[in-house]
Symmetry: C2
Subunit: 341 residues, 2 copies
Amino acid sequence: MPDSAVIALDAMGGDFGPEVIVPAAAKILSRRSKLHIILVGDEERIRSCAQNHAIKLDDRLTIQHASEVVEMHDEPAMAMRKKKDSSMRVAINLVHDGKADAIVSAGNTGALMATARFVLKTLPGIDRPAICTTIPSRDGHTHMLDLGANVDCTAEHLFQFAVMGSVMTEAIDNIESPRIGLLNIGSEAMKGNAQVKAADEQLAGTPLNYIGFVEGDDIYSDKVDVVVCDGFVGNISLKTAEGVAKLISYYMKEEFKRGLYNKLAGLVALPVLRAFRKRIDPRAYNGASLLGLKGIVIKSHGGADVDAYANAIEIAVLEVNKSVPQQIQEHIQPLLERQTA
Amino acid sequence: MPDSAVIALDAMGGDFGPEVIVPAAAKILSRRSKLHIILVGDEERIRSCAQNHAIKLDDRLTIQHASEVVEMHDEPAMAMRKKKDSSMRVAINLVHDGKADAIVSAGNTGALMATARFVLKTLPGIDRPAICTTIPSRDGHTHMLDLGANVDCTAEHLFQFAVMGSVMTEAIDNIESPRIGLLNIGSEAMKGNAQVKAADEQLAGTPLNYIGFVEGDDIYSDKVDVVVCDGFVGNISLKTAEGVAKLISYYMKEEFKRGLYNKLAGLVALPVLRAFRKRIDPRAYNGASLLGLKGIVIKSHGGADVDAYANAIEIAVLEVNKSVPQQIQEHIQPLLERQTA
């Protein structure tokens, strides 16, 4: 049964809470007839929000009440320990108890990671979960991990990220042996730090399709399918990309406002510019996977709108149908045995 | 005397060697009447190249013969030890011997850094030189260091980079107290690694205009003047930016080729798109400073064309006129004394 799944949504998470999440849920349900979505959070608020949007609650769209909310500024460890009835925690519990197949949250990333790790635990063979997202490339896309869950990583961690990224990409993109690259700096200077060099040696000895080192610009080419790095570097690379994209769009708007000719040219070019903008729309890439856990956890951008949030739900459904955690577990075991042999 | 300076060019460095470098030298000399440029490299090749371009060698454009060339694939340490008569080494020697005020090279970055460090030495108080470049931002530009000279950095190194970046920016941009930011990851997750946290504490206690942590997207905003990071992160951020810019320009070209209307719109929008392209032209930002040495060393991109290379020479002239190394030395001493006090 392809799209049969139960998805728990942390309905209070993100900048807009149920205002975005309830309509996004309804949107996905209208597309997928075998899906059941559980909205977790303040029952009254969710109910009134559904009413305002003329969205009917039924056996495919249910509410699970939770009395607390993890705020964006909450310390991850504190949120985990003190807010045991938060929408985030209750939604994760549903996955742990087998009542949901995946959870999506647009809330505090640190709290989501800490709580998911505490409640669901990591898969055997995985030391640390990693955040993995999809990034547009020339004629397709690239998956990149870790994006901020792990600041300092050993070679062993990078190795595990590579395996997780490979398995997820194989499942999600339906491609065999995705090309794995290790993010490093240019060939001219000294080649990378000790961790990267050691991970390179480890990966070269596996049946993974490891293509070696890649550089920052390769992420956006079609040279590689999975880019592996530590969370510090990955987060800065991702934010850099956001900054550059914003800068370029700012420059472009400025140029098209400079004088009458440019304004007219801008009008003429508008449909083209719109199509272009749609192509680099980050909303189409919303939804990062917390890989390495005994359960499927998807992080939506906090500022996601209905379409973007719906996209994150779609990723959750895809991972449920492909049993990503089980597949990671199946693949990592023989590789680890090989490593220690 | 503003533009009076002697600049040594490693005329054999880069992808095109004298073919680009000799015309770039002539271009700068036509603009700056008090400048003397020494072309260092194979005398015969440089002479014939000048002839081909109808460029006259005189007392402002002279040749210093060097029999060897550092290749792009040469190991930095080997290039330094074995090629003692390379154009790169001889050009650096000219600075060391006081016969030139600065050296520009488009050659092997690792070899340039290793040789410059060996011949010129670092300034007192500076443990490691750093590579610093200019990056376009919304309504101006940002300086960023290190960009790849130092893979692993301690808090102390990051602190020194901050001082060097501040002094250079003050001198080059003619602004007082440039805003210094430390590159780190988002506020949600655990805040950065141990080095970044320790450097943050050190910087907070100085008279520098330290504004705290900045994220990857802030590099391209107008929030900060100098972005400090280790060379691994800096290099990946810079390459990421290149990759994103290339991807966006690829998408844009594709959209303007899609069907007759788009093609016509592209023609109409051409002058605007050209102005836009000029604004993000990386050639306008060519020329990275190797800061922290007892001498001025500028690295040009290996693939630089005449305009781009000329820009790197301009940066060298600017740093000579502002006595950047002397200023770094003057500023770092009291800060270090303060640190240890």
